[in-house]
């Protein structure tokens, strides 16, 4: 197919309205071809690499039903409707890790499964951390751990970290702070 042909979404059929995402089926016309695509519509997420003054990164170990086990990740959460993205990142950092940050720097943004999922993740580096208090939802199962960058790089290489946003965030924050992977 020629990528210069016009692509048009003719309409979409809502299948499910959920708490975290909606599901719709898009009707697409592309040149002379018409087809359908199943799309999960998600409001996007914030991801934070929180680096303490001693150089360690604050991580959360959390039970994930979709994985069927605990995963070690950097703090993250869903952006609420109409919420400012950086404020969402600050909120999640305080809720999950119990810290505020004097400095927030945008590292990157990315899609995680763009074949069918609209979710985009916005990744921040947080430094100048000050401890306040953790404030979890009652159904969150989460403990805090702290690791140095060299240890995290080792855990990326040996498979102990198995979450894409965490790998990307750690490698990009390391490069920004000149602790190269």
């Amino acid at each position: 197919m020629e990528e210069t042909e016009e692509i048009e979404v003719l309409g979409s059929e809502p299948i499910y309205k959920g708490k975290i995402f909606d599901l719709s089926i898009y009707d697409i016309r592309h040149g002379e071809l018409e087809y359908k695509r199943e799309i999960i519509e998600h409001n996007g997420s914030v991801v934070i690499v929180p680096v303490f003054d001693d150089g360690t990164v604050g991580m959360v170990r959390q039970y994930r039903y979709a994985a069927g086990k605990f995963l070690l990740e950097i703090p993250a959460g869903t952006i609420e409707k109409d919420e400012n993205i950086e404020l969402a990142a600050r909120r999640e950092l305080e809720e999950e890790l119990g810290v505020t940050a004097s400095s927030f720097t945008k590292l990157t943004e990315f899609y995680v499964s763009p074949g069918f999922l609209t979710e985009k993740m916005y990744v921040y580096l947080a430094t100048g951390l000050i401890e306040t208090a953790q404030n979890l939802d009652e159904d969150e199962i989460l403990s805090i751990e702290r690791y140095s960058f060299p240890k995290l790089f080792e855990m990326i290489r040996n498979g102990e970290i198995e979450d894409a946003k965490t790998m990307c965030g750690i490698m990009l924050a390391g490069a920004r702070l000149e602790v190269r992977f």
Copy 2:
């Protein structure tokens, strides 16, 4: 909540059976708490970093309805039911890029949105590439481009690459080939 308490999935209600994924609602008991989780069930994906003998990486620029635009990514695709994972990676590499590889090395595996999506991605480094012929599905809109690692690192830093699996795959392949990010 204590993470040592027993977590039990009591059952699940199927909501939608799709082509690429299914949607179910899980009923969960965790200690004295019971709650529901919306879960997208996906068979997993393969991701390939194909490095040509001249050191360039084969990429695909592809229209993504979930993003509403073209994204530059490394080759990837869904694992079919009961399909061997490495064979799925070899199939996708040949279909999308039109090459076979004499060497396939597993780099990593990761979840991409483990809060609600079971999709796991399996990432391979492919070298010793031999050109055959591209073989796309008729609804795939995709062109091939090749970039050096330093150029790809620059495109990760400046936001031209905005796909998590591509960022992770490029950074890990670079480290493996000693072309450091």
